[in-house]
Every structure is written in C-alpha cells, then in structure tokens.
C-alpha cells in the first residue's frame, strides 16, 4: 500500500512539470501586457516601457521561465505584479471562501445526487425516475451563471430570504457563513448533482440486475438495506470515480460562481488576474488547482480499496 502511494506521488512530478511548462508558455504567448494595464490609459509608451523594465517583463521569455521555475522549486509562487503581495499569501487569503464553497457544494451534491440516483434506480421507468432523469438533463445543460442569476432573482431579490452576494467568514458565525453559501452551492452543485445522479442510477441498475441481488431479495432482505448495504456499496467505485473527476467540473464552476455571487475566493482571484495579465497569480493558481486535481484523483484511486478489497491485492 505504501509503495503504491509512493509510486503515485512520484508520478505527480512529471504531470506538474508539463502543467508548469504549458501554463507559462500559454500565458506569455497570449496577447496582453500587465505593464500597459498598470500604467493606465493616459500613459505613454515610454511610461509603459519603464514599468515593464521594473517588473522584469522586458527579459527574454526563457529567462523569465528559468527564474519562475527556480522560485517554484523553492516553494515560492512569486509576487503579484499589481499588489506586490506574495502569490501564496493571496491564495491563502482567498482559500477559505473557495474551500467553503467546494465543501458545501460537494456535500450537497453527493447527498442529493446519490439519493436521487438510488431512488430513480429503485423505481426505474416510473414517473419519479423520469423526473430525476429530466432534472439531470436540465441540471447538466443549464449554465451555472443562468442558475445563479435565477436563484438570486427568486430568493434574494423577490423573497429576500438570502443575500445576493458576498461571503461571511466562518469565524463570523456559522449562520451568516451558511446563508452566504446556500445559493452559490445550489448554483454550482446543479451540474454536479446531475452528473452523479445519472451515474448512480446507471450503476445501481447494473448492480440490481446481478445474481447476488436476486439472491438477497429471495432471502427476504428488506428493500432499504438491500439498496444501501448491498447494491450501493457495490456501485460505489464508479460513483466515487465520477465524484473525483467532477472536481475539474467543480473548479471550472467555482470560477464562474464566485464571479456571479461576488465571493472573494481563488476563482475570483484568477479571473481578475487574467483580465490584468498578472502572470504570477495566474500561474500560481493554476499550479495549485492542478495539484489539487491530481491529489483528489490519487485519493479517489486509494479509496477504491475501501469499497473493493480485490483492488488491494
């Protein structure tokens, strides 16, 4: 087991190297100049050139890459071109809202989606099944921002139940924290719920058709234990895989959701940085997101051993 983990951790290194090279080259060959943005609209080309020199942006791209990788190897993600703060400190400052949003969204999605998927499988062909599948198609098709605006209009402006935007740190109290996360989590979770509900239903249907399920039914096992203990556990591996893969979907959705609901998280940080071409922040955040994604997939792989003892061998 330890050997497996070590091998998997080692395999992360080349992946992150490829990510680093791609991110750097894509950014530096994309049009845009942070110096021109910092200088303002009335700046002359001479002003901009002076700023570019001060920021080191006049150096050849390969030299900038070597400096960045050297810093990266020392754990230094660089410094924001605009604010002068370290990228790591900015990410840490913005991590809590993003982690909160991700946590509440995953929790909500997993609970709702698995329930819907199991119920739909148990009542296959019924009206409930069709409704769940219809919801899944809609949830996957409607963009996050459309759901977000609709929720804001209904629950924040018309009913005035929840705030339109913003984030309350958990340190200010669990109540305000949750109040600010309900709408964003629903908006972000829609596609995730749809994805997991569909895979849960499909996998459950496969498992329910297995001989051992027929045997359990013949032995008189009640419906609920049969579904949850026997069927769901055996259907868990593909569901966990989709939950893990869905993290990429979640990361993409977080960026949009944080913008729509004005949540000052890492997603907003990177959107703002892209608009200004604040290269160190964009590079740093993408490296962190990539690392998180790779680690989540590692955890998902390791979790298979919990659900299927055969994989341990």
């Amino acid at each position: 087991m330890t050997g497996t983990i070590a091998r998997r951790l080692t395999s992360i290194v080349p992946v992150m190297c490829v990510v680093a090279i791609c991110v750097f080259l894509l950014l530096h060959f994309a049009p845009g100049d942070p110096a021109a943005i910092i200088a303002g609209d009335n700046a002359t080309p001479q002003n901009i050139a002076a700023i570019r020199e001060k920021l080191g942006l006049d150096q050849p791209v390969w030299r900038q890459f070597v400096v960045w990788v050297g810093n990266l190897l020392r754990g230094d993600l660089g410094t924001s071109l605009f604010w002068g703060d370290s990228v790591m400190s900015l990410i840490v400052q913005r991590a809590e809202p993003t982690l909160s949003l991700a946590f509440t969204t995953i929790a909500l999605a997993v609970v709702v989606a698995i329930t819907l998927g199991v119920v739909a499988a148990a009542r296959v062909g019924s009206l409930i099944d069709r409704a769940v599948m219809g919801f899944a198609v809609m949830g996957f098709s409607v963009p996050v921002f459309v759901v977000g605006y609709a929720l804001i209009f209904a629950f924040a402006i018309n009913l005035k139940w929840l705030p339109v935007q913003g984030y309350a740190p958990i340190a200010d109290g669990v109540g305000p924290w949750l109040q600010h996360l309900v709408l964003p989590s629903f908006a972000l979770g829609m596609a995730y719920v749809a994805l997991i509900a569909r895979i849960t239903r499909a996998t459950m249907l496969d498992v329910l058709a297995e001989d051992y399920m027929r045997t359990a039914k013949a032995k008189g096992v009640a419906a609920a234990p049969m579904l949850l203990k026997h069927a769901l556990k055996n259907a868990a591996v593909p569901i966990v895989t989709v939950v893990g893969n869905g993290v990429a979907l979640l990361i993409g959705g977080v960026v949009i959701t944080e913008t729509v609901f004005n949540i000052p998280g890492v997603g907003r940080l990177v959107v703002d940085a892209i608009a200004r071409r604040d290269y160190p922040i964009i590079q740093g955040v993408i490296m962190v997101f990539s690392g998180v994604y790779v680690l989540v997939n590692l955890l998902v792989d390791l979790s298979y051993t919990l659900f299927d003892p055969r994989i341990r061998g």
């Binding site: 049009p31 845009g32 100049d33 021109a36 943005i37 910092i38 200088a39 303002g40 609209d41 009335n42 700046a43 002359t44 080309p45 001479q46 002003n47 901009i48 002076a50 700023i51 001060k54 924001s80 605009f82 604010w83 002068g84 703060d85 900015l90 400052q93 913005r94 605006y149 804001i152 209009f153 924040a156 402006i157 005035k160 705030p163 339109v164 935007q165 913003g166 740190p169 958990i170 340190a171 200010d172 109290g173 669990v174 913008t259 729509v260 609901f261 004005n262 000052p264 907003r268 940080l269 959107v271 703002d272 608009a275 200004r276 071409r277």
Partner: protein, 535 residues
C-alpha cells in the same frame, strides 16, 4: 475517559466557539451598517500609488487618503485653496509663494510641512504630463519654512494654479517626505496620507474590498464642500470599495440594499434601476465621456492625410453610439475637437460633421491618398460593450466606403498591449483602436496626452504636426480665457484638417445609489466620499 456523543458534541461546539471569537470581536469593532457606505466602483485598484500610475481607480484611492494643495470648485472655473491657506504671486509673475494652513496632519499624526510638499511636487512632476509641462517652466521649488514653499518660474506660466488643482491623473496628492522621496519609477511602499480617510489595511483584502475609515486627525476647511474645494467633512465612519466585476450582481446587490453606490450601472439596466423607488440615478461627471478613435499615423493608409480625412467623412457617430447607449438622453454627437459643453467647444472646421457622412467624397479622398485595398486592422475590445459595438459599426461604415477591414476581437488587456506596437499592422501592429476619456481631459489641449502631436514620443497613434504643437504652446502661454478660446478654435481648425484622431461622440455614465445616501459631489475624474451622508 470514554468519549460519548455528548462530550464530542460539547467539544465541537467549544472549538467552534473559540474559532469564532476573533471574528466576532472583529465584527463588533466594525461600525454599524448605517455608518458605512459600501460602493462598487468601475474596477480594482491597480496600485496604491496614485502618482506612479494614471489609472483612475488609483486616483480615487488617492482622493480618499491624500489631500491636494488646491481644489477646484464644482464649476471648475477657478482654483481654490485646500491644504494651502493662501498664496501670492510676485509682480513679475515668476514666483508663487504658498502657505500651508494650520491643522494639517498625516494619519500617523505627524505634521504636514513644506518638507513633505516639495518632494511630493517634484516626484509628481516626473510622472505627470502636466507636471512635466510645469517642470519645463520651473527654475526651482523650495521650502522657505515649515509652512511656506515657493515655485520659481523661468517665465510666466499662468496654468500653474490650474494644474495644481486639476483632477486629471496623476493628481498632485501630497505625501509624507518619506514616500515622496521614492524613486518616481518605483511604487511607494506605505499608505500614509493627510486626507479625509485612512486605508484600513487590516480589513482590506486586495482585489476584493478596500476599507477606508474616517481619519480622526483630519481637520476640514470651514467652507462648504464644492468639487475638491471646501471642507472635506466625512459624515460616515467607513467607506468600503467592494470589487464586484459582474454588473448584473452589482445591480441586484444595490436593489437588495447590500451596497449603497454603483459607479457604472450598465445603460441597459438603468430603466430597471429607475423603477426602483429606493434608488436614484445621478450623473456625477457633468461633461461625461468622449469616445476616441485612434488612427495609426506611422503606416499606410493612415500615414496619409487624405486617408485620415476620408474617415471623417465616413464615420457616423449616431450609429456608433446608439447600440450601446440606446437613448439620446444618455449620448450626443459632437463635432468639436474639444468636449462639447466645455469652455473650449467651438465650431471651427466642422463642415464634415454638419453635412454628415459623404461616401463619394470619402472614396475620392481614399483614391487620392493611394489606398490600395490593404486590410485595416481594427482592435475590438469585446469585453467593453461601447468599444466593441463602436468597432463593429465602424467596420461596416468603412467597408461601405470600399475599405477592407480586419476586425480583430480581443479583451481590453489585449488592446492595451497591442496598441503599444509601432510595427505595421500585418506585423503585429494595428491601424485603428477605440477608447474613451473623461470630458474635462478633452477640453484641455496641453494636459491631455492624446492631443499632443509629438510623433513617436507621444501617445498611441503617434501623430506628428508642428503647427499643432505651436498652437498648444500658445494656448499654454495665453493669459485669459478668451485668448485660450480663440487659440482652441485654431487648434480645432488644424486638427480636423490633419485628423490626429477622431471622436465618436459623447455620453453620460450615470451612477446609481440608494436614496438614503446623499451629498454626492460632482468632480471630474474623482468620486469623493466626503460630504456623503447615510440616513
């Protein structure tokens, strides 16, 4: 000890309580919402140094935490004292002596002296276009004593007081000697000003929210507030700039009362806001904004005067403005080279505007200019609606006159990087780009960088014309408003002949605020949060 469900729950609650304590204390220290104004501005603050950049958001920040030597009242026709108590001009008009008023203190509670003012002016003169103009006329700036300083000129320069009181960026804000002596090419590293607010760096989260608390050391002037003149009396405890890039969310937040002020509500949502009884639409920038079409003078076809003149006869401002600003109550066409509504507006050489587009004439001019069918590279900032729409419409207008147009969509960041290039358009350069400027900028031919025609040392487009430079210098040297108006007419007559750039009209960008937040002052290029009350 056996862990029961009750002990686990109790322990969890205790940990949660302890974790919440700092936040609860912080929350208790915050002023109540009734004493806090939350404002969504047009963008993020790129740097806290308002001298180092011309970005308006940095100037807004500067207006909060720093003070100005002189102010301009709401009419903007005469400089008024602000940090300065009084000033005098020598008989030969070469020496200006200024005396600081009593009670000026920085937020670190140190006194503001001439030793702070002199390096502040010197640093600003390096970064600012109008400061550089002043530097050309200045022999010396020196402190006489703690409260008195003087500016000695090489020759009379009647714009000095106007420049000191101007809100064109970068604005002359006074900093501590420590920051003022920073290399002008470097950003300052501390925010300590003597303005009406203090930046609360503990609660500020860069890129997300900027928290400004009332400066307890600030002593406002006794006169009523007017523009940047008069008493800067802060009537709330705190102002928070909330960075909210999504306009739909900002509008919803304003309607829900989560914010009090929105600087740039989209024009297409104004009707929705106007129908809300709790919200007022108010135009704080009286002269509005001017649309600017930059032409690249360095390469064909617009290195040829006939081709530039042709564009004057092709462009239809009305068609370019309407898709974005919808109703004429928000926009107007304008044939003046100077902002319509400003003192310099005039009628010289505007036949092209009065007669409207003349495509046969434009085709003739293009032929005379040797236009060979080369595609015109037009930079289109698709993330800024007025620029994007104007580009789409103008591309069609040019095509209608027989020009080929290569409309290149990109974001604004892409445009500002690309427009720096002096290469031909088929080698990474450009032929046409769009931007806008504040109305007051286009009423001042010397401080506005886009009105200079000093070639490749100048602003994007790099127009070059000696006559225009001579007229601008004459405008500066003029001593009366009437003389300046007469020279402005000559500048315009020449400008619509050489066509350094074009304007595609003017528009208002009204702000929206909650009705219970009042006292907004009208200042070009700045949004003051002094004098603002929340009831």
């Amino acid at each position: 000890m056996k862990a029961t469900r009750r002990t686990v729950m109790g322990g969890s609650l205790a940990i949660a309580g302890l974790a919440s304590a700092p936040g609860i204390l912080r929350a208790q220290a915050r002023p109540p919402a009734a004493r806090t104004v939350r404002a969504v501005m047009h963008g993020d603050i790129p740097t806290y140094d308002p001298i180092w950049t011309t970005a308006n958001m940095s100037a807004y920040h500067g207006g909060m935490v720093y003070d100005m030597l002189l102010g301009a009242d709401a009419r903007g026709d005469e400089p008024r004292p602000q940090m300065v108590r009084r000033w005098g001009i020598s008989d030969d008009k070469l020496t200006y002596t200024f005396e600081l008023r009593d009670g000026l203190r920085f937020s670190d509670n140190t006194e503001v002296t001439s030793a702070d003012v002199v390096p502040s002016i010197r640093r600003w003169m390096v970064r600012s276009g109008s400061g550089q103009l002043l530097a050309q006329h200045t022999r010396d700036i020196s402190a006489k004593d703690a409260k008195t300083f003087s500016v000695v000129l090489k020759e009379p320069f009647s714009l000095l007081l106007d420049i000191f009181s101007s809100t064109n960026t970068p604005v002359l804000f006074i900093m501590r000697k420590r920051e003022a002596e920073t290399d002008p090419m470097q950003k300052i590293d501390q925010v300590v000003g003597s303005g009406p607010y203090i930046l609360n760096q503990d609660e500020t989260k860069v890129g997300s929210q900027y928290v400004y608390d009332k400066n307890p050391h600030y002593v406002p002037r006794s006169e009523p507030a007017s523009g940047t003149a008069g008493g800067k009396v802060v009537k709330v405890d705190r102002t928070v700039y909330v960075n909210m890039p999504d306009s739909q969310t900002a509008v919803a937040a304003l309607q829900a009362g989560e914010i009090d002020f929105y600087e740039i509500p989209p024009i297409d949502l104004l009707d929705q806001l106007q129908s809300d009884p709790a919200i007022t639409i108010e135009n704080l920038f009286d002269l509005g904004l001017v649309g600017h079409v930059g032409l690249n003078w360095l390469h064909p076809p617009f290195n040829n005067i006939k081709c530039r003149q042709a564009v004057l006869h092709i462009m239809n401002q009305e068609d370019m403005l309407r898709p974005t600003f919808v109703s004429p109550k928000w926009y107007k066409t304008c044939g003046s080279y100077f902002t319509c509504g400003s003192a310099m507006e005039n009628d010289a050489n505007t036949g092209w505007f009065k007669s409207g587009p003349n495509i046969p004439l434009a085709k003739q001019l293009l032929a005379e200019g040797g236009y060979d069918g080369k595609p015109i590279v037009m930079l289109q900032a698709t993330n800024i609606p007025y620029m994007s729409n104007a580009a789409t419409v103008m591309a069609e207008q040019l095509r209608g006159a027989g020009m080929k147009v290569d409309l290149q969509p990109m974001d604004w960041a892409g445009v500002v990087a690309r427009r720096v290039s002096q290469a031909p358009s088929d080698q990474g350069g450009w032929d046409i780009f769009f931007t806008s400027g504040a109305g007051p900028s286009y009423s001042d031919p010397y401080t506005d960088v886009s009105m200079a025609t000093n070639g490749t040392k100048g602003w994007f487009g790099w127009p070059s014309d000696e006559k225009n430079e001579q007229l601008r210098a004459a405008w500066v040297a003029a001593e009366t408003l009437e003389q300046r108006k007469a020279i402005a007419a000559q500048i315009q007559d020449n400008a619509w002949n050489i066509v350094p750039h074009l304007h595609f009209g003017q528009w208002q960008q009204p702000t929206a605020h909650r009705k219970n937040v009042t006292g907004w002052l009208h200042v070009p290029d700045l949004i003051p949060f002094w004098n603002v009350e929340k009831t």
